[in-house]
């Protein structure tokens, strides 16, 4: 076998010598034969002739001997490739357009695939990741579970090899050091968290049960990134103490560099939760709070269905050992997902829609190239017919066409990979914040393999289909055709291709249009405040000197004072919950005096001047004032939606409510303010209660400062930070951003889908226009003689132009009609991305159809104009 390969390769490389060898050997054979004949008494001439008759022609012998071995096949292919390359070079216009079209299609598909691959197709980067599940409890909707629920499951279930919880409450310790204090993103986890993921520290040790006991040792495991950045990759870090929020923690481990923490991609530091396990009957304890994500690794041999069944059984049967409060009764059971589904659920709709779009673009690109090949084939019909007549088999012709299209596709594929490279970085730059596994989006081997397969498939398809179509035409008419004596007959294939192209382009256009309208609608939604010239930043309290609420409030007040003194700041205020910042955990229960009904509302603990600074209009009553923090009466301001809900007929001002714990004194409502969107513009939950921060039942450990700035909001950032640090230089300032930016970011996922769709739709429209143009131009060229005859017989220019336009209009109209039907069905995939617009929005469909029509007119007009200029004399003379 090896010998075959090496000898073959040698023969291939030293082709000339090998040839020489064969020629010499054949020649020698012949000479010996002649010599032998002469020895028998033949004359030289007779011997020559007889040998030639007996042995056959030398050339044939050589050809026969040469056709042996795999290298011969390679050579045939190479000669096909050379021939194809020559053909492509001779026709640069066709080649460039076709290769670029394919490059676009392959590049776009490859780029999108590289984004989808790690998210949708690859398993999560953990050993046997398919055995990982995660669950929430079901209380009408998904809700985080509680620590004690975890305890019960851990004790009772048998399905899991390892179980762990991750605390949903943010742990964001501030790390002190030589440089500015920095806030880290951390996770509190139970001891077996890393065992569930089956990834352990690359340095040091994992958490143990001993680490995770109540009031256990202060230990942390840090990420590779933090280790390198903050500790210069020093291996002596293990056992060293680091200061986090004024406490000393011992570093016990460093996670590997490739560890991808999908349940918190930004996390750089982990600590054990150390919750108290003993007081399970105390339903008011922190351990009964709904802020846990529970994850488990299934035991070998246990299916997901079995695990679900067991969890359902546990939820149904209570045992005395594990009492359950009303709010964690588990009566509705659990929602169990694979970890992967959980991670990808948020982005899946956008990605699937984008994937669909790119497939359409790829199909259109292929169709277009097939059309070009057909059009070119029409011009070469004479050549093909002649070759067929001379005995070239159908397979031989097909093979040559496929070789040609493969060559085109490979050229396109190579260019496409470059396009993909650019595309990937663009996609990453555009990607919405929630996109998981961003680090794994790259031109990996899998992506290259994908691109190669796509390229190969396209090469074969774009060669095979046109060659089938061309070979169906009979060679005789082909030869006649090439002599241009007969008017062209119309072939259905190119027309059908164009119709499908137009239809697909319309589908993409509708998608892009719907997304564009959604985004327009979304940003037309008033956020409820004035975002211009607003700079926001968050101050994170850290250190034991702020253990008491009073010291925190004093710090916040002094920091706000300092910010207000910055010259470029017109006004400033503080809030515990900042709209569009991604702040969570602002929801608390509210109860009104009248009927004691409870709602979940957003709790805003704010300073005076908050409404004025944010530009939130006061609808009734008055805003919060400085004196509200000291007066005897507790006061609150509520949002319009809440006021309308609770007091549909009366005035809310003067009524009383409780926010949070019910053992607190009543707050009097002093004002009603306009509704503010909190999470995103698409939010419709705007019920909110504002209280003076210093009168809250707890002091937040992070507050956002909002400053309305004269001039450029970003320019003031340095001064404002300096002002805050002048109060305490050890407090971390995070998330500095302008409100305009936060607003824009809030639509990122929709914007991402929209930009991708628009780009694809534009490409599709262009390709479809080229397709329409190509078919019409081809038809006009083919009919030059016929048009000439018509013109000679007195057809007006108008009639000729009308004829061409009509032909184009028919194609576009039919394609458009099919496209609309398909778009109506396909738009279902977009529904979750739409906002404020129906997927059947007639305006979008009409506008898209009009756009397509306009582009089609342009595409038709050039061939029509050319037809009108056909000079009968020249047309008839071209014979």
């Amino acid at each position: 076998m090896w010998r075959h390969v090496t000898r073959g390769a040698r023969a291939l490389i030293h082709r000339r010598e090998t040839d020489r060898d064969i020629i010499d050997e054949a020649q020698h054979y012949f000479d010996e034969a002649v010599a032998a004949l002469m020895a028998c008494g033949y004359t030289r001439e007779d011997a020559d002739r007889t040998a030639r008759i007996e042995i056959g022609s030398l050339t044939r012998i050589r050809e026969q001997a040469r056709s042996y071995g795999w290298e011969h096949t390679v050579e045939t292919v190479l000669s096909d490739v050379r021939f194809a390359a020559r053909g492509l070079r001779k026709n640069p216009g066709f080649t460039v357009v076709a290769a670029l079209t394919l490059a676009l299609g392959i590049g776009a598909t490859t780029a999108i695939f590289s984004v989808l691959n790690p998210i949708l197709f690859q398993p999560l980067p953990y050993p046997r990741a398919e055995r990982l599940v995660i669950w929430d409890i079901f209380e009408g909707a998904r809700a985080d579970t509680t620590f004690h629920t975890y305890q019960e499951i851990a004790a009772r279930s048998r399905s899991f090899e390892w179980l762990a919880t991750v605390d949903g409450l943010p742990w964001q310790p501030t790390i002190a050091g030589a440089s500015r204090p920095a806030r880290l993103d951390g996770q509190s986890v139970t001891a077996d968290y890393f065992r569930v993921l089956a990834v352990g520290p690359s340095l040091g040790r994992n958490f143990t049960v001993e680490d995770d006991r109540f009031r256990g040792p202060k230990v942390v495991i840090i990420s590779d990134g933090l280790w390198r950045r903050r500790f210069a990759g020093d291996r002596g870090i293990i056992g060293r103490k680091i200061r986090l929020d004024d406490d000393l923690y011992t570093v016990i481990g460093v996670m590997p560099r490739r560890f991808d923490n999908v349940l918190g991609p930004a996390t750089e530091i982990w600590k054990p939760q150390q919750y108290e396990t003993g007081h399970i009957a105390d339903f008011d304890s922190e351990e009964w709070g709904h802020h846990m994500h529970m994850a488990g690794r299934l035991r070998a041999g246990v299916s997901v269905a079995q695990a679900k069944q067991e969890l359902a059984d546990i939820a149904r049967t209570r045992i005395a050992e594990f009492p359950r409060p009303r709010f964690a009764s588990l009566t509705s059971g659990f929602i169990v997902d694979s970890l992967k589904d959980q991670v990808t659920r948020g982005v899946k709709p956008a990605l699937v829609a984008v994937a669909g779009a790119v497939v359409l673009v790829l199909i259109i690109a292929c169709v277009n190239v097939m059309n070009l090949v057909l059009a070119r084939g029409a011009g070469r019909r004479g050549e093909f017919a002649m070759r067929a007549a001379l005995g070239a088999g159908r397979t031989r012709l097909t093979r040559q066409m496929v070789t040609e299209s493969l060559l085109l596709a490979i050229t396109g594929g190579v260019l496409g990979v470059f396009i993909a490279k650019v595309g990937i970085s663009t996609l990453i730059a555009l990607s919405p914040a929630g996109l998981p596994r961003l680090g794994d989006i790259e031109l990996s081997g899998t992506v290259f393999a994908f691109a190669s397969v796509v390229t190969g498939a396209i090469g074969v398809i774009t060669g095979l289909i046109p060659s089938i179509e061309l070979s169906r035409r009979d060679p005789l008419s082909g030869i006649q055709q090439s002599s241009k004596r007969i008017a062209g007959t119309h072939h259905a294939a190119p027309q059908m291709l164009v119709i499908s192209e137009v239809a697909l382009a319309l589908v993409l256009l509708v998608g892009a249009g719907l997304l564009l309208r959604s985004l327009e609608r979304l940003f037309a939604v008033a956020p409820g405040f004035d975002p211009s010239h607003l700079l926001t930043l968050q101050v994170q309290i850290s250190g034991h000197r702020y253990d008491s609420d009073a010291t925190r409030w004093r710090f916040y007040a002094r920091a706000l004072e300092a910010v207000r003194r910055v010259p470029s700041v017109a006004s400033a205020a503080e809030t515990s919950l900042l709209p569009f910042s991604g702040d969570q955990y602002g929801a608390y229960g509210v109860q009104f005096e009248e009927d004691r009904r409870g709602y979940d509302v957003s709790r805003y603990a704010v300073s005076s001047g908050y409404f004025e600074t944010m530009g939130i209009p006061v609808r009734r009553g008055r805003p919060l004032r400085d004196y509200d923090t000291v007066g005897a009466q507790q006061v609150a301001v509520i949002s319009e939606s809440l006021a309308r809900r609770q007091f549909p007929h009366g005035d809310a001002v003067g009524k009383r409510l409780h926010l949070g714990p019910i053992d607190r004194p009543w707050c009097v409502i002093v004002g009603v303010v306009s509704d503010v969107k909190q999470g995103s513009l698409a939010d419709n939950q705007t019920d909110a209660v504002y209280i003076p921060s210093a009168r809250s039942w707890f002091a937040d450990d992070a507050m956002s400062i909002v400053a309305r700035v004269r001039g450029d909001a970003t320019a003031a950032r340095g001064d404002i930070e300096k002002a805050i640090w002048s109060v305490d230089k050890d407090e971390a300032i995070v998330n500095a951003a302008t409100m305009d930016n936060l607003l824009r970011e809030s639509g990122a996922e929709r914007r991402f889908a929209m930009i991708v769709f628009e780009a694809f739709a534009a490409a599709a429209l262009l390709l479809a226009a080229i397709g329409v143009y190509g078919v019409l131009a081809g038809a006009v060229a083919e009919r030059t003689r016929e048009i000439g005859v018509r013109a000679a017989l007195g057809a007006s220019k108008r009639a000729i132009v009308g004829n061409v336009i009509e032909q184009g209009a028919k194609l576009v109209a039919l394609g458009g009609a099919i496209g609309i039907v398909v778009a109506v069905a396909a738009s279902k995939a977009l529904t979750t991305l739409l906002f404020g617009v129906s997927r059947l929005d007639p305006l979008t469909y009409a506008a898209v159809a009009a756009l397509l029509g306009a582009v089609a007119v342009v595409a038709c007009s050039v061939p029509a104009w050319r037809a009108a200029r056909v000079d009968p004399v020249i047309a008839l003379r071209t014979e």
Binding site: R3, H4, H28, Y29, D31, A36, E54, I61, Q64, Y68
Partner: protein
Amino acid sequence: MLDNSTTDVIQGTLDMLILKTVSLRPIHGFGIARRVEQISRGVFKVNAGSLLTALQRLERAGWLDSEWRETENSRRAKFYALTRAGRKQLDVETADWNRRASAIARLLKAEA
């Protein structure tokens, strides 16, 4: 020189005949063809193209070695020699052929 009773070499036996011929002594292409004709008393005729192709194949398979040398009448020719693997192959093919030939002979006899 050749009469009508000449036939082409039986399908599938060319390799064996070449190996056998080469096994006697190193020999060039024409020599092989000639020996096959002579020894078969002119029953078998070797087609030059098939022979040269077969020689390439056998060499590629590692059963033959080749070398350009002067012949006795001082022409340059490619001489083939049997390798160790080639000898083994020849034994296998010979045994195989004998088995088949005797089987056919038995069959023909039984019919007669």
